[in-house]
Amino acid sequence: MAGLEAIASFYVTDDLDTTIQFGSSAKPIPNTYAGLQLRCSMRGDDRNDHPWLRLSPLGSNSGNNLHFQIRNLFSGGASGSVAPLGAKDGPTSSIVFPYMHSRDTSDSYSYSPMVLDIMGYANATTYTQFLYQSGSPSIRGDQYEEGWSAIGCASWRNTARLTHFTVDAYLDSEGFRRGTSFHLYGYGTS
């Protein structure tokens, strides 16, 4: 098995692509990998600033015991101040990762990278853990607008195997902008 296998690539070619699904109950994400990595280049199409990436686990356990904890560090704005962002010591209703640019904050060529590692997804005995990094200064014309560097983690407090999930642009009523892309990889083991 390859060290890193490309499972699926998705390119947003229509602004109607608001929710993107990886795997299904009939064709689940294989449980043969040590972990998954979702590589993203994203932009929201709404005028809200800073939509988040939302990941929603699906499957037979959907709606059951969906609890998350999120901790982030944030460095952005002209001051470059550092602060926890969205830290939760208790369950939350959705699992979201900051951020992506949108029409309100940047030129239309500004897309936001994010790398999301998904570990412990393949078994039915441990919670699934998420670890992400994202960062992107944005500009409008030749002027700085805002930016961030962020790292964080979350957990899906459900021991079920993660067989399929969706991603969408949280806090963005118009979804991903055309040009957004996602590449899902699996960490292969011998």
Binding site: Y109, G135, P137, Y144, H183
Partner: protein, 207 residues
Amino acid sequence: MAYIDADGVLNEGESWVGIDTHTCTGNDAEVTFTSQTGSTDYKKNWSQYVDLILIISARSTRSHSEDDLLCKLNNKASAYWTTSLYMGSNTGNGYTYSSPLAYAELGGIFAASMASTYFGTHYIQFFEINSGKYKSIMSEWGKDTNASGGQVGMNSITWADTSDGMLSTNYLYEIDLYPANGSFVSGSKFDLFGTLPRMAENTAVAY
């Protein structure tokens, strides 16, 4: 194996491709990687990759405890917008440049006044290098000692070259790496990888 073979046929190759490596055998003022075309080594043609990943272990000749690791894309001196998150000792810090730099600030490495065995490490990702987007870089970096002076950080950069009088979204074909105030010492090592997308339809997984 990259996905363009000798006959120009697309394959579902390894998704993480080792493109090139460089180890300094003397003091190198600059280390350059360039996309190549030709008929012998298809891995070095960057036009097939989504992202590039650069892993670095480096040290500077600067007469100081540390130096900054910088780079330019396509040998352009504008315009690199940067925000950084870093931590030294027990304090988190950050800064954002409200004006663009003439280079990408990737983070810190050790320099000549530190023991010669101390190198800095970087894990740098260049995103969507062949797209019509502004190019994005995320650089995770760290350098640790058994005393003060250690740091860990993450720098994020958006490159929107303005050298031709307009905001450019050029594809990436060259990376020039250099310390801000010295040269790379012998033993500094640079490994460049490319990531490939899923090419053939994956009928086993719905998406």
